[in-house]
């Protein structure tokens, strides 16, 4: 599977988005910390984390005997560059043209 497809697939699940939000709030958490207050079994969280890791959205680092999970923002930025920015640019251009048209009508 291509990298971007893995990212889209990983983001398609609300539980995984929830985990990303929690890691974004505080990067570098253990599995136990991540499970706290979540309505998910530890096993389900482990499976979701594996998928997020495979999509490169989560990176694991060991600190002593602690396995810490970090959110990696780079794949989401890649998607932003590929899929969002160019449409934003079009919208901004349209807005700019609209403004010029209005100003012309007002005789400025």
């Amino acid at each position: 599977m291509k990298d971007n497809e893995k990212v889209f697939k990983a983001l398609a699940d609300p539980s995984r988005r929830k985990l990303i939000d929690r890691l974004h709030e505080r990067s570098g958490q253990t599995l136990t910390e991540l499970c706290e207050g979540l309505d998910m079994t530890r096993q389900a969280v482990t499976q979701h984390l594996a998928l997020l890791q495979d999509a490169n959205l989560v990176t694991v680092k060991w600190r002593g005997r602690e396995k810490l999970h970090y959110f990696n923002a780079v794949p989401i930025h890649d998607i932003y560059e590929r899929w969002i920015r160019k449409f934003e640019t079009q919208r901004l251009t349209a807005l700019h043209e609209f403004k010029q048209k209005l100003e012309k009508e007002n005789g400025k």
Binding site: S27, N56, K61, Y70, N72, A73, V74, H77, E81
Partner: protein, 148 residues
């Protein structure tokens, strides 16, 4: 006391470790995808500077080279040029370059960041853009127009 923050950024690039090393350490290349030149002789103990690609050549970041293993690992201290002498405010960047299958896995670990600091805000915006642009630059020859 709140513990200091660590951020980890990873990207996979279809290239070779020596090209990634060059792209990070040669000002002529960093300028193209980062709009800044990284300037140093990259020997452990030396200083390094992050210099804007403008007429004034504004120095934005300064620090020391802690560890330097060409094509593999680079560890730097990282401080705002305005706080060059106040090393208590400096953070630390570890860059690891590994080969995974036919790709390079580039990991940037930025730690010792003060919670809620200006630098923390800057780097969390900055690293994803820099690494996306670096990936595009090395894979297609074109950087991203991310600083426009």
């Amino acid at each position: 006391m709140k513990r200091e923050e660590t951020f980890v950024y990873v990207t996979y690039i279809a290239t070779t470790p020596d090209r990634v090393w060059q792209a990070l350490t040669e000002g002529e290349l960093t300028r193209q995808y980062w709009k800044h030149e990284n300037v140093s002789d990259w020997s452990p103990g030396s200083t390094w500077q992050h210099v804007a690609d403008n007429a004034e050549r504004t120095v934005r970041l300064v620090g020391n080279v802690v560890e330097s293993v060409p094509n593999k690992r680079l560890v730097l201290t990282w401080g705002d040029a305005a706080e060059a002498t106040d090393t208590t405010k400096h953070s630390r960047v570890t860059i690891d370059i590994e080969t995974v299958d036919d790709m390079v896995r580039l990991t940037v670990t930025h730690d010792d960041l003060k919670p809620a600091s200006d630098m923390l805000r800057k780097i969390t915006n900055g690293w994803p853009r820099v690494l996306s642009s670096l990936k595009s630059f090395l894979e297609t020859g074109k950087p991203l127009n991310t600083w426009a």
